[in-house]
Symmetry: C2
Subunit: 329 residues, 2 copies
């Protein structure tokens, strides 16, 4: 295992310290806790929080800031955060108008966020569960579909709604609308290595790729010989667009997300094909994000997310955000 680390047991802690050291203008850490909050709390608004295992950076702490999240709860690598930490995030983020919890559909995450919400009995909470991955129904860590990179559109859009002063019900409603309209599928060329494990989570032959990979390296839909980028994009888009969202004639947002070890060069090549295919289908792309948004440590791979927009989601997507990993005017 070749990594810039000191001690596998201290990876999460040092990472969080390094992030807070780097960006005090955006985030601070609650003393003694694995909870990241905005460096300046905004009062009188619905708070939006998220969390999950570490290893997906910049998810989630990189999206804490104006127009997106109010707090993030990073667990150990690829491990759900504990209810006590989530409870502290709820308490710290609450600004008097309630807290929306954005949870990716993984059994441990859902259970722990719900337990924390129960413990926070004097704070109003609501929950949405993202499940944008079209690859598989049920899986190693889920009942139902997995929540993956499309979740970042929830952070952006629900975050903008909350920033604009909406109440908890309306912030939750727009988050649910994003969930209903976003679909994602991924592919891996090389596995990731959890520091504490010291070796890759799975093996892939020198000419193999895993289609439909999960963000923790969970098995996808098939393992195949690696194909040209365009053929891979076509396969992913085919699955995404033949799922339950009708994208025809619509306006969409695109995310071409890198898994951590895939260079920007390759993500842009994938994006070119996404645009070419969607243009040919008469689908209008309103906004595109290409980069490492929800990674899998050092996995080489990518995912494509497609969000069908209506006027409300479009306006909120294009609204300003100011976070470590996503800033727009």
């Amino acid at each position: 295992m070749k990594k810039f680390i000191n001690n596998v047991e201290n990876v999460e802690n040092e990472m969080l310290e390094g992030m807070v050291d780097a960006y005090p203008e955006y985030v601070k850490r609650l003393p003694g806790l694995d909870v990241i909050v905005r460096s300046e709390k905004k009062e009188g608004k619905v708070a939006v929080i998220s969390g999950g295992g570490s290893g997906h950076e910049p998810t989630h702490a990189g999206f804490v800031g104006k127009g997106m999240l109010d707090a993030a709860v990073p667990g150990a690598v690829y491990t759900s955060p504990t209810p006590d930490q989530i409870l502290e995030a709820i308490k710290a983020a609450d600004a008097g108008k309630g807290v929306l919890m954005v949870v990716k559909n993984y059994t441990g995450d859902v259970m722990n966020f719900e337990m924390a919400a129960e413990m926070a009995d004097d704070i109003e909470t609501a929950e949405v569960i993202s499940n944008d991955d079209v690859a598989v129904e049920d899986s190693l860590y889920t009942t139902g579909r997995r929540g993956v990179a499309g979740t970042i559109f929830i952070h952006k859009i629900a975050g903008a709604k909350a920033e604009a002063g909406a109440n908890l019900a309306d912030v939750k409603a727009v988050a649910e609308k994003v969930i209903a309209n976003v679909r994602t599928m991924g592919v891996a060329l090389k596995p990731s290595t959890v520091p504490a494990a010291g070796k890759p989570g799975f093996e892939l032959g020198e000419d193999e790729m895993e289609l439909g990979i999960g963000i923790h390296g969970e098995p996808g839909t098939s393992r195949e010989k690696i194909q040209p980028a365009n053929a891979i994009v076509d396969h992913l888009l085919d699955k995404i667009m033949n799922d339950s969202v009708d994208y025809s004639g619509s306006e969409v947002a695109v995310m071409v997300n890198g898994s951590g070890a895939t260079p920007a060069m390759e993500l842009y090549i994938l994006n070119k094909r996404v645009h070419d295919v969607l243009k040919e289908k008469g689908i209008k792309i309103v906004k595109t994000y290409v980069g490492n948004y929800m990674t899998s440590i050092d996995m080489a791979g990518a995912s494509i997310s497609l969000l069908k927009l209506d006027d409300e989601m479009k306006e909120l997507l294009l609204a300003p955000a100011d976070t470590i990993a996503l800033t727009q005017d």
Copy 2:
């Protein structure tokens, strides 16, 4: 070679198309050329342009936009752009007040930018050559030191000076001041693979790292057994701080730059140590950037840059920028 590509001969072209498709609000491509310019040209200011081989994304095209570059000229992967392309960038970027060319010190880059400047005889040009890499004097592709990630501080600071309306001499002067005050050193854990070559540019044993690596995988100062992250940072900082810039008691900007395949987790762990060491030395960090700013395709590695600031550089560093890869209010 496992990569998301279609054809090794078309990598650069498809990458540029994919970038322009993704971010039309920031950049456009000059028709038929490998030149990226701002989607909306700003008239009446000094233009700042840069360029060099592709494979270092988001460098340089990712820094084209308000407060940074006016044009970028990407060559083939790890290959200098040609004078004719650079000339077109000069012509396109010039807005009546002259063009500053920011060139990394590589023999081919310097030669071709200077040739282009001569060809642009009716446009006033000036040139600065970055050489921030403290690892080696002279090298495979340079006489003198290599220009590496510290160059991005030139884009930011000279770009802000130009945006503020300064004349060519003053924009050049502040660029030279950055060059005089920024030092960088890198390290690699795994080599990069140029698509057209199809195999890694060098080999490293399973327990080896290359200290002082160049951004094209050029040999560094030594090949050693991999060490804990903190020891690696200490080594790099020691070389940087015992070079010719006296950082003691000063205000600095830090960049912890990823080489393309290094996850954010590890960059943050490196950054924690950078901050701990500098704090202990009484050096004040004004601004930190952690991420993939000047990559080496899919190399696993990182570099640390330290820029000693004065009031002018500090103000310009903190000024707004709005580009694909660096946006700040």
